[in-house]
Symmetry: C2
Subunit: 401 residues, 2 copies
């Protein structure tokens, strides 16, 4: 039984957070988030697969190796990427300053940066922001932290749930950002997950890495993958359950709740995609392998032609079959079925006469489901994306200005 509760990353026991404005964004929006566990927590992370990695991200990948951390500090508005040795120095200073203020080792502070690439951080602003963030830490600060990691996001993204494990109430809270430049694996998205569960570091890591492929790695906004994206999970054990140390029912209960949290945030990211007017779920069934299911779902979810047609509320399924066709997935074009919502528009690779006004009604909704059955095997996959609108172009035509 998974109960949705309020509080975001500060819902679990023993976590505090804050979000403040220090002037990086220059419009008084919050741009420094600090999330902190009262005591040391086990920690795991998944990072961008981009060859180019931001300076803050590189530091975090180094610090996380120990498996323990107390806090993460994130600035938005500047990716701290591709600025040379100063970028490494700045990331290190951010960790050190935060560690001083929290009275812990610098190695136990993780750092994130998201925003424009190639511009040095304004360190005087960042320093003062970190000080304010540390003095503002509170058990009600989850929402502020969620707001402080936003870049082109229109809405803050947070969720928390509560489950029972080993007789204790265990909570998982999370925030995420991500709007454009979103695509597997780990695109311009950051998510911080906190939990008070008592779990071994190995199983925390395993749970995160089992959940991500089917959640955050199934979101595509524009097919891009950025240089500073990560998902971090902190588990501080303050729920005082006896401890998850085996892959038993308790592990599976925790993993289900984690998956619930990540699916929820994934859909929020897709729905808040840059310029998006709709959340679109693409489902593939009947593929002859896992790889083929992924190739097909990915090509359809990325296709600018599919996404502009959905924006135009046009049931142009020819673009869906076309994307499946160039995806590299093996299938017989004479078997494929395609549905838009519950309306079958193509059976056995052949156009069906369908009610265009019914199709329009389906495409008018905020959430649109597209299902493709390749009828070749038993593998399936699913991906969340959004439509492609004028506003995507507007937002991205002048991002730096």
């Amino acid at each position: 039984m998974i109960n949705v509760i309020s509080g975001g990353v500060t819902a679990p026991k023993g976590f505090k957070a804050s979000g403040v404005s220090c002037g990086i964004k220059g419009n008084k929006s919050k741009d420094i988030a600090l999330i902190c566990s009262d005591d040391i927590a086990v920690v795991s992370g998944v990072f961008t697969t981009n060859t180019v990695k931001g300076h803050s991200l590189q530091l975090t990948m180094e610090h996380i190796k120990s498996g323990y951390a107390r806090a993460v500090v994130i600035n938005s508005g500047n990716a701290n990427a591709c600025v040379g040795k100063d970028g490494d120095k700045d990331a290190k200073e951010i960790a050190e300053l935060t560690a001083n203020l929290l009275n812990c080792q610098s190695e136990n502070v993780l750092v994130g940066s998201t925003g424009v690439i190639g511009v040095p951080l304004n360190m005087p602003h960042v320093r003062s922001g970190i000080r304010t963030a540390a003095s503002n830490l509170s058990e009600e600060g989850g929402r502020d932290a969620a707001q402080a990691i936003m870049t082109t996001d229109l809405l803050e993204k947070e969720i928390a749930v509560d489950i029972e494990i080993q007789g204790e109430r265990v909570k998982i809270g999370a925030i995420a950002k991500g709007s454009g430049m979103i695509h597997p694996n780990m695109a311009t998205m950051i998510s911080i997950i906190t939990t008070d569960v008592n779990i071994s570091r190995g199983l925390l890591d395993k749970a995160l890495k089992e959940v991500i492929p089917h959640t955050f790695n199934r979101v595509s906004v524009d097919g891009e993958t950025s240089v500073c994206d990560m998902v971090l999970i902190f588990a501080n054990g303050e729920a005082e359950n006896s401890g998850i140390v085996n892959e038993d029912i308790e592990y599976r209960t925790f993993k289900s709740a984690l998956e619930y949290v990540c699916i929820n945030l994934s859909k929020l990211i897709a729905k808040d995609g840059e310029g998006a007017t709709k959340l679109v779920e693409i489902g593939i069934e009947g593929a002859s392998s896992e790889e083929d299911a992924y190739k097909a779902v990915c090509a359809i979810a990325k296709s600018p032609l599919v996404k502009t047609a959905i924006f135009g509320e046009d049931a142009n399924w020819g673009r869906i079959i076309t994307a499946a066709g160039y995806s590299g997935a093996e299938f017989d074009p004479n078997l494929i079925d395609i549905s838009i919502g519950d309306l079958l528009v193509c059976r056995n690779g052949t156009a069906l006469k369908f009610d265009e006004s019914k199709a329009k009604d389906i495409l008018k909704k905020d959430e649109v489901t597209i299902k493709v059955n390749l009828k070749k095997g038993t593998f399936s996959d699913r991906m969340w994306t959004c439509d492609f609108s004028y506003d995507y172009v507007k937002i991205n035509g002048s991002y730096r200005s």
Copy 2:
């Protein structure tokens, strides 16, 4: 010495063409093109790699196996794809009717269709269109044929050149269409090339297949690859050169001219990309393998974020390095150099201070060049694309309506 001449596909001796309106498009635009050699010609073709193939394209792939043809008939406005057995029957009837009118074997007629998928051809319109096209065939019909294959193209695309081979004037003419859904390999583009050179079928085929990878397969408008795309070349020998039968200097002269023609049309296709305001050339140097050079150039040319930044005339090179980073190409992020026009904006993976107003001047032009040097090896590649504007979304949000 390659001389550009007028006449398009009807510039070479012994070719006639026509382009007429038969009502498929419903707005009196030309929608049937017929291109015909007076005598049988050797022929070669390259076809879409999409698993899904239109019915007309499948027939052409069958007919071209003999290596000889007299004519190609193309309708625009309807792809004749995914409509079941009727689609095959209609393609066959188009070839038969055209063959009757031209007094040749049906197997010597190739058929192309481009436009919306999943809608049956209106055959009464097509039949009357083919009859009109056959009676309108003329040595001045190249331009009409170029217009009749357009879908969302704003401009007809044609070129012709004249070279000397074995003491004779040899001509190559070509038309192309393609605006959206353009990406390697053979996206929604069709090109018909005619030449009066006397060449063996084997060498014609070889020349075409050597030229396409670096020309038409280096154009990306939106990363899509459609179901009915092809490049066909007809060589009827009427220039009366003694014959190209070896890979000698004469072969290379012919191939250079063919490449010139294909590069020219490739750039026209990119420049006339749906909603495009600029032609963008992306160049990669210093890759450690051919594959890496291709991966990097392709990721940058496809990136919606790069393309929207160019539309916005914003020198946001962070998106260029990001796309290279997720391309899968191996390189050292600390070595990469990036130039926009002749302005170096990133050296050794690190931001340079550059003159933003100079960058703006470069990005304001109709043609923009981006150069990326990975400084790892000696391989290079090049691709043509366009910027990504509001109009791409507009055109594709309501294509069927």
